[in-house]
């Protein structure tokens, strides 16, 4: 079974991914009970989704607002990076976590590699599906590349200057 980093731990991945090519009418997808489907399939709500746990994946151009109505109920949202150089997914994740208040599993899929994990984690991905040909154990370590950050995002929502000030005022309080 493939592996995924979930909340900083490597675990077995029991979600099956369905690509758009599988979207034939009446297709039963897969026998898996937990599936991640593209936004297009999700929006069509075919009968074949019934009885399964369904997560949705967004592509770079997909508007996270499309999932606003489902944000409280979806167990998993994935954001696809066709190449690690396409950075749209970082903003998608940020918006899902902040603007739309998504609290479930947010997973980065596609061309996910070690050297992007620190940033991916910061914008709110708590699940990182590292490319299967890459060493996921080694990749996990990169989450600790930096011990501090300057700017606010999802993980660490307070910029460094506010935290510095809070520390100073705490220190000066008897």
């Amino acid at each position: 079974m493939s592996k995924v980093i979930l909340d900083n731990v490597i675990v077995d991945d029991d979600w099956a991914r369905v690509t758009t090519a599988d979207n034939d009418p009446g297709h039963s997808f897969t026998s898996a009970t937990k599936i991640i489907v593209p936004l297009k399939i999700w929006q069509a709500r075919p009968a074949s989704l019934e009885g399964k746990a369904v997560g949705v994946w967004l592509d770079g151009a997909d508007d996270p607002a499309s999932l606003e109505a489902d944000i409280k109920t979806l167990p998993l949202i994935a954001v696809n990076f066709p190449t690690f150089k396409d950075g749209r997914g970082y903003s998608t994740a940020y918006l899902l976590r902040t603007r739309y208040g998504y609290t479930g599993e947010l997973r980065a899929i596609g061309d996910i590699q070690r050297d992007q994990l620190f940033y991916l984690h910061r914008v709110g991905f708590n699940a990182l599906a590292v490319r299967e040909d890459k060493d996921i154990e080694a990749a996990l370590k990169s989450l600790n590349d930096f011990s501090n950050v300057y700017q606010a995002s999802v993980v660490q929502s307070s910029p460094l200057f506010r935290r510095r000030e809070a520390e100073l005022s705490a220190a000066s309080t008897p």
Binding site: N148, Q151, P159
Partner: protein, 564 residues
């Protein structure tokens, strides 16, 4: 200047460790060529014609003498004894060895320097006015804001993989010396009606393949909102900027395609969620960072020193240098000195390790230990007493940094061009040298050069416009025609608040014709100018026609005829 605290230092140290690991993985074959390419670029490391090129960040062009000595050490130890100052106030080394780059970064970290985000599709080093803090026409010192932007943009997790590079410039003076009209974001500090300092924010300016001047998208942004507003601009760009075509991926194309109004509406809608949020800059933080940029302990001096006046009257060489290379200071009795890195025969912006060490000494002795880099590729001693100017001049002369040509025809801005850069279509350095030599040899003495007066000549070796040719009064662009190097000439470009883009005068020229062409352009100006008109004023008054006629009317038969 800004000094790192323990957290700033740790972040830079951790970057060195991270990059060392990435380099080692690449050298072991664990990291692919393309994957490493993107990572190394975000650390300023290019692969060039001869060797890798490392671009080191000089945030808003500020250096201490200790840092300059480290730059000299790096030139000596890891390179061939010199470095090249760029049009974005950084320094580049052309000959480092890939495996030793992590060691260079480790050395830099010991003096609070790095190469973070000096290349790649991310937020680049923030630039500013080289006279920030000392200029007589300053509204507000832009450096604290430039530093706040530096920190905010450093490893911003959401904006590391933008559609294309992103450059920010901040200016705090009446005169814009930071090129804010041709940056992805330009921020100009101004006083509003209520006498408060606010920023006028421009977006979508840029040179390169599609030169466009920036559009104002916010007239009066209070300083505390700079970062939330920039977050909004960047998020709109990151989501909607084009990624299908590298030549249409800059924010200027998005602004153009959406229209300024629609773009502003998108930014405002996004900003509504961020405004007054945690990234709003606190007064305490503005105060903390501003405290690093307080005035040095100036002496109380008369506005003009009598000895200084006498020295100029006695020595014409000194007077010429003062006229061109000394900038008016806000503090009575002080001056800002520009050391010219534009001596004929030396590539514009180049400095050797010995020169750098000498500049560090000069700064320690005469200018509170600080040095600045200008986007015109010169070095500045910002706080020199008038009484010390003659001594500084003599010392600068002895290291070849006293050419009295700041703002003149021979103060050429040029990229490294085809001699070094693998992107270039044509060479820049030999063209700069040919023009400088013509001025010296044929056009005679220094008086001629000074008589011609303010004339900015810019050379870029390719469309990427690192030499900012579009905004040169005379702009020269290297083009490739059937595998041969040619040069397209434009006139009428200018920097500053009234910035304009140059117009191409006609078909391109061979390298050996370039000195002739420039001589004719300047000759046309000298013949047609009225009173104190500068070259650029004459071009704006008469248009390009008379210049074109002079150049092409006498053009050699063999020259190219088709336009590029």
């Amino acid at each position: 200047m800004y000094r790192y605290d323990q957290i700033d230092q740790q972040i830079v140290n951790e970057r060195v460790t991270q990059f060392r690991d990435q380099t080692e993985r690449f050298l072991r074959g664990e990291l692919g060529e393309e994957e490493f390419r993107v990572l190394r670029l975000q650390n300023g490391l290019y692969v060039q014609k001869h060797a890798p090129m490392l671009r080191v960040a000089i945030p808003y062009g500020h250096l201490s003498s200790t840092q300059v000595r480290m730059l000299a050490h790096i030139a000596r130890t890891y390179d061939r004894g010199y470095g090249h100052f760029t049009t974005r106030q950084n320094i580049q080394y052309n000959w480092p060895e890939l495996a030793r780059v992590p060691d260079i970064l480790a050395d830099l970290a010991t003096v609070e320097m790095h190469a973070i985000q000096t290349s790649g599709n991310c937020i680049r080093n923030t630039t500013s006015d080289q006279f920030a803090g000392v200029a007589h026409d300053e509204v507000i010192d832009p450096r604290p804001y430039a530093e706040l932007i530096r920190q905010w943009s450093t490893f911003h997790p959401e904006f590391a993989y933008l559609p294309r590079k992103f450059k920010i410039a901040v200016s705090g003076s009446l005169e814009d010396r930071a090129g804010t009209l041709f940056h992805d974001i330009g921020a100009q500090a101004v006083l509003n009606g209520a006498g408060k300092v606010v920023f006028r924010v421009l977006v979508g300016g840029g040179l390169g393949r599609t030169p466009i001047l920036g559009h104002v998208i916010h007239d009066e942004l209070p300083p505390e909102h700079l970062l939330t507003y920039f977050d909004a601009v960047l998020r709109v760009y990151n989501r909607f900027g084009r990624r299908d075509n590298i030549y249409k991926a800059r924010i200027k194309i998005l602004v153009k395609e959406l229209g300024v109004e629609k773009f502003r509406a998108e930014v405002d809608a996004e900003w509504a969620h961020l405004k007054d949020g945690p990234s709003t800059i606190t007064q305490a933080e503005i105060d903390r960072v501003s405290a690093f940029f307080v005035d040095p302990t100036y002496e109380t001096l008369p506005v003009v020193s009598a000895a200084f006046e006498r020295e100029q009257a006695e020595q014409k060489g000194f007077a010429n240098w003062v006229k061109r290379n000394v900038f008016r200071h806000k503090q009575p009795g002080y001056a800002a000195v520009t050391l010219s890195l534009k001596k004929t025969g030396i590539a514009p912006g180049d400095a050797t390790d010995k020169q750098l060490d000498a500049v560090a000494d000069l700064a320690d002795e005469y200018s509170f230990g600080e040095i600045r880099v200008s986007h015109e590729q010169n070095l500045i001693l910002a706080d020199v007493k008038q009484a010390d100017l003659r001594a500084v001049w003599l010392r600068a002369k002895s290291i070849g940094f006293a050419t009295p040509n700041i703002g003149l025809l021979t103060d050429i801005i040029a990229c490294p061009g085809g001699d070094f850069c693998s992107l270039a279509n044509a060479k820049s350095i030999p063209v700069a040298e040919a023009i400088q030599r013509r001025v010296e040899d044929k056009l005679g003495d220094l008086d001629y050069l000074h008589d011609v007066g303010d004339l900015q000549l810019n050379i870029s070796g390719c469309m990427n416009a690192c030499g900012h040719h579009h905004v040169g009064h005379i702009g020269i662009l290297g083009v490739d025609k059937h595998g041969e190097e040619f040069y397209q000439v434009s006139i009428g470009g200018s920097q500053g608040l009234g910035a304009s883009l140059g117009k191409v005068i006609g078909p391109s020229f061979a390298q050996e014709d370039m000195a002739d062409v420039v001589e004719k352009l300047v000759g046309t100006y000298v013949d047609l100018r009225i009173e104190d008109e500068r070259f650029i004023d004459t071009v704006k008054r008469l248009g390009i026609e008379p210049f074109k006629t002079r150049v092409y009317g006498q053009k050699k038969e063999s020259a190219e005829v088709d336009n590029v």
